[in-house]
Symmetry: C3
C-alpha cells in the first residue's frame, strides 16, 4: 500500500542498497539524470554500445531505456540490453519520449515493448496515448493531453503489455491495468525544466530495483518526485534554480518531508 510511511521506508531501502541503474538514455538528460540517481542514493551508469550491453545489463539492478534522442544505431544496444535484463529478471523501465511526434519513435517503442517486455512504461499523457492510438500526436516531446484523458488508454496499454503504466502530469496516475494510484501534487515549474520526466523515469528504475511490486515502485518514484518538487517550490526563483535545488532536495529528503507534502 502507498502511504507516506511506505514511501519513506522504500526510499530508505533504496539508499541502503544503492542499486546500479543502467541507463540507455538521451543526450539531453544524461547529466541531470545521473545526478538525480546519485542524489537519491543510487549508482548510475550510462552506456549504449552493443559491445558492452550484455556485460553492463548483466551487473545492473535495473535497466532504463529512454528514446529521447533516438537513432537507429542505438536501438540495437537497447534490444541486447533489454533481452539480457529480461533473462535476468531485473526491472526494465521504458520512457517513450516523443512517441507520437514521429512514426520512427512510435514504431521503435513498439519494437522495444515486444522484444524487451518492460515492467514499467513511464511517459507523459500524449506519449502514453500515442502507444495505443495512432491519432494522438505529440508536440515534440511535450504533452498536448491531460493525464486524466490518458488514463483509460494507460489501462489498456497496461493490459496489452503486462507493464505498469505511469503517466506524469499535474496529477500523476500509475496503473497496472486495474488498480490506479494517483498523486495530486501539482508543481507548475516542473514542465519548465527539461528532463524532469526523464528524471522521474530513472528514479522509477532505481525504485523498481529495490521493490518487488512494480506498481508500488512506480508510485514511490512519482511520490519522491512530487515531494522534491514541493520542497523546492518555495526556494526556486525560476527553472534554473528549481533544477539545482531539486537535486539538493532528492539528497536531503527526510521522512517528515514526505509526510508533510505528499498528496495521494
Amino acid at each position: 500500500m502507498i502511504t507516506a510511511q511506505t514511501v519513506s521506508d522504500n526510499l530508505e531501502k533504496l539508499r541502503e542498497q544503492s542499486p546500479l541503474v543502467h541507463n540507455i538514455t538521451n543526450y539531453v538528460v544524461m547529466n541531470s539524470t545521473a545526478n538525480a540517481l546519485l542524489s537519491i542514493g543510487a549508482s548510475p551508469v550510462m552506456a549504449h554500445a552493443p559491445q558492452e550491453m550484455e556485460a553492463m545489463a548483466g551487473i545492473a539492478s535495473a535497466l532504463v531505456i529512454n528514446i529521447g534522442t533516438l537513432s537507429e544505431e542505438w536501438v540495437e544496444g537497447m534490444l541486447i540490453a533489454g533481452k539480457k535484463a529480461s533473462e535476468r529478471g531485473i526491472p526494465i523501465v521504458l520512457d517513450p519520449v516523443g512517441a507520437g511526434a514521429t512514426p520512427f519513435r512510435t514504431k521503435t517503442c513498439h519494437t522495444i515493448i515486444k522484444h524487451c517486455k518492460p515492467t514499467i512504461i513511464r511517459g507523459n499523457a500524449s506519449e502514453i496515448m500515442a502507444l495505443i492510438s495512432s491519432e494522438v500526436k505529440t508536440k515534440g516531446v511535450d504533452s498536448t493531453q491531460s493525464s486524466e484523458e490518458a488514463l483509460e488508454m494507460a489501462k489498456t496499454l497496461s493490459q496489452e503489455t503486462g507493464a505498469v503504466v505511469s503517466i506524469s502530469g499535474p496529477t500523476d496516475f500509475i496503473t497496472d491495468g486495474e488498480k490506479v494510484i494517483s498523486i495530486k501534487n501539482h508543481i507548475p515549474l516542473m514542465p519548465k525544466v527539461t528532463g524532469m520526466g526523464c528524471t522521474a523515469t530513472t528514479i522509477t528504475g532505481a525504485m523498481a530495483a529495490v521493490c518487488e511490486n512494480q506498481l508500488e515502485a512506480a508510485a514511490y518514484a512519482m511520490s519522491i518526485m512530487a515531494v522534491a518538487g514541493e520542497m523546492v517550490t518555495p526556494k526556486a526563483q525560476g527553472p534554473g534554480s528549481f533544477q539545482m535545488h531539486f537535486l539538493d532536495a532528492l539528497n536531503n529528503m527526510k521522512s517528515k518531508d514526505i509526510s508533510k507534502y505528499l498528496k495521494l
Copy 2:
C-alpha cells in the same frame, strides 16, 4: 524597428505562441539550450536521426542546426531536415560552431548553406569570418577576433547567402547585408559559460518562428540574451551561478527589465 518596446512585444508573442523549435545540436549544450527554450517560453525538441528528420522538421516552427560536435553521420540528418524546413518555409538558423578550427567544420557549413539556405547564420567573429576567408582561424570554438573586425565580412556573407548574419561579442552586430543593428551590452561572464552562443542561436530560432522579419528576429533574440545577462550580473558569483540565474532571468524577464537594460 528595434526598440525596448518591440523586443518586449515580440517576447510576449513568443510566450503566447510557444513555438516548437527543432534542434539538431551538439552534445555539450543539449541540456542548457533545451532549458533556455523552456525558460523563454518555447518548446524544444532535440532530434537528429535521418529516419525522423522529415517528420520532425514537418511539425516544427523553426529549425536550428548547430555543428558543435559534428560527425559525418549527423550531416545527413541536417540536410534532410534543412530541405524539409526550406520547403515548408520555416526559418532555419545555422550556428557554425568552430568553423575555421578544422576544414571539416568549415566545409560542412558551406554544404549546409548551399543545400538548406539558412535564413539566419549566428556565430562568433572568428566563425563568421572563417566562412568567408580561409585565412581566419578559430581557437577551438572560441573567437580570436572582435565582432567589429568581422562586420564587413558578415555583410559579405549575408549578401552571398541571403541569410541575416548575427555576430556575438562584447558588441553584437546583426546585418542583412545592408542594415546593421548593434547591441552594446557587454557581459564579461558570458564567455566563461559554455554554450551561451548556442543559447543565443536557439533563442534566435524561437524568435524567428514568431517574427516575419528575420533581421528583427535575430536582433530581438540578441537583445533578450543581453538583457538576461544584465539581470544576472549583479547576482552571479561566478560562471556556475551565472548559468543558473540566466535561466531564471529568461523565465522572469519583464518589459521593465528590457527598458532598463537594453543598450541599442
Copy 3:
C-alpha cells in the same frame, strides 16, 4: 616540488596561457567539463569525428581521452587524435571510466594506452586496478576499492606504461612509479555529483598543457579540485548547489584559498 605556492603559481600560468584542451569525452560530462575548463581559465573544445581529429589535435595544447560513454565509432577518432598528439609531443590524459565494468572498456583502454602512449592516466581506484588485474570489478563507473588499495597497482601501471598515474578518492595519490604525492582533502559531497572525476581529468589536461613535469601537473590539478571542494563545502546544501558553487570556486580561487585549504 608541490606546495601551496607552486600550485598557485601554476594556476596563474594556466590562466595566462589559457591552453586549448581537446576533449574526446563522454556525453554525461561534456557540459560540466567544458564549464570547468572555462572556469579555471582554459579553452575547451569537444570534438570526436575522425575527419577532424588530426586538425583539432594539431592545434590543441593537450588531449583528453575519456571513455565514459564509449562506442566503437569513437575509438577510431581517439586513436587518430592520440597518434597526432603523440607526434606533436603534447600531453595526453586518459580517463579509463568504467574500466573493469565491461571487457569492452578494459580492452579499449589497453588499445589506447598501447597506441597513444598517454602521459597521464587518471581514474578512481577500481578503474586503475582493473587496468592491471582482470579480477578487479567496477560497479558501473563507481569505485568499490579505496585509493590506498590501488596505490601499488598504480605504481606498476605507471612503470609498465610510462604514464603518471593519478588516483582520486578520499585521499588522492599521484605517482610516476617511484615518487608518490598524496592529497588528503576529503570532500564527502564530491562522489554525489556526476563527472567530478572527469572534471579532475580535464583540469589535469589543462595543467599538463602548461607544465613540463607531468607528475607535478597531475598533482596541481588534483590540488585545485581539492581546494575548490573545500571552498564549496560550507556553502553547498546538497549535490546540486555543490556543482554550481564548484564552477564559481574554480573561477574565483586565489592564492590564499590554496594556502588555507590544501592538505598535502
